[in-house]
């Protein structure tokens, strides 16, 4: 089995067990408020840790700030997502600007 299949299978198993965890316990243990709060930070931290290098150093080293089309595209996407909460609007406007700057 190749690497991608092993990764998909093991990740799927972990995900299933996470979803099954408390359902299996039938409500005999509930997570504390502190743990719930800590878990809220997880998606924000992971996603931001992925976004930053994708925008600023897509080739491995930080690109010159003024010739990197990903930066204005990301800024526009942030503004649209913040102001209108529109997922598709943010993606579409970001891609449009990205292509425009690449021309």
């Amino acid at each position: 089995m190749s690497r991608e299949w092993i990764a998909i299978t093991v990740a799927a198993l972990f995900t299933f067990l996470t979803r099954f965890s408390f359902i299996a316990l039938s409500g005999r243990w509930t997570p504390s408020k502190r743990l719930c709060r800590a878990l809220q930070f997880v998606p924000v931290a992971v996603l931001c840790a992925i976004i930053a290098p994708e925008v600023l150093s897509p080739t491995g080293s930080i690109l010159p700030l003024f010739s990197n089309p990903r930066i204005p595209a990301a800024i526009v996407a942030i503004l649209i997502a913040w102001k209108w909460r529109s997922t598709l609007g943010a993606i579409a406007a970001g891609m449009a600007l990205f292509w425009l700057f690449k021309l």
Binding site: T18, R19, A45, I51
Partner: protein, 228 residues
Amino acid sequence: MDSETGRLQEFLNGVRDEAPILIGVAPFGMIYGVLAVSAGLSTLAAQSMSFILFAGSAQFILARLIADSASLMVMVMTVFVVNLRHALYSASVAPYVARLPLRWKFLLSYLLTDEAYAVTIRRFAVSGVTPLGHWYFLGAGLTLWSCWQASTAVGVFLGSQIPPSWGLDFTLALTFIAIVVPLIADRAMLVCAVVAALAALLFAFLPMKLGLLAAAAAGIVAGFWSDR
């Protein structure tokens, strides 16, 4: 009420309440399909991931990590932490499914996604524990599942037609921006976001994407610390 028609009625109620959410889910599934293929996954692997992992944002991340030759440990750990929130959903629906047989618990756990949870818990909170509530959960869950599989398939097909020169891989960053920005609701979340982003650039030299886990940990600690 005849329990046979009662089940069907509950199932259809779940389908009906889940349906409006599909407008947002279908494009997301298509974008995943396009991205997974342009990241270099085989069409079979891209589609299978929707089937066996069945977890929106985690699939985007895993597709990218596979393309970036991350280590197996980093891939599994990252998906695990990204999906940890599902443990909270599990805890929250547990009282409502506690009396079901194990096969139902397996099935509903598999279907426990963000979108199915959001719809189902709203209903459970109003109706309380009812004898047929799990049919509602099943209706909502299967509706989302069908939409995700179908939209992924469309995306995988489109992705295999689009040349890499279009730079579609950048939609990953934009998609995540659109997901994460509304989550940043207070100062602690903002601290978490900024620290994670800066740490990711700082730790980028670490091999096999280990920097991703280190940066995420730094962000979580910083956010939690600034919260007090």
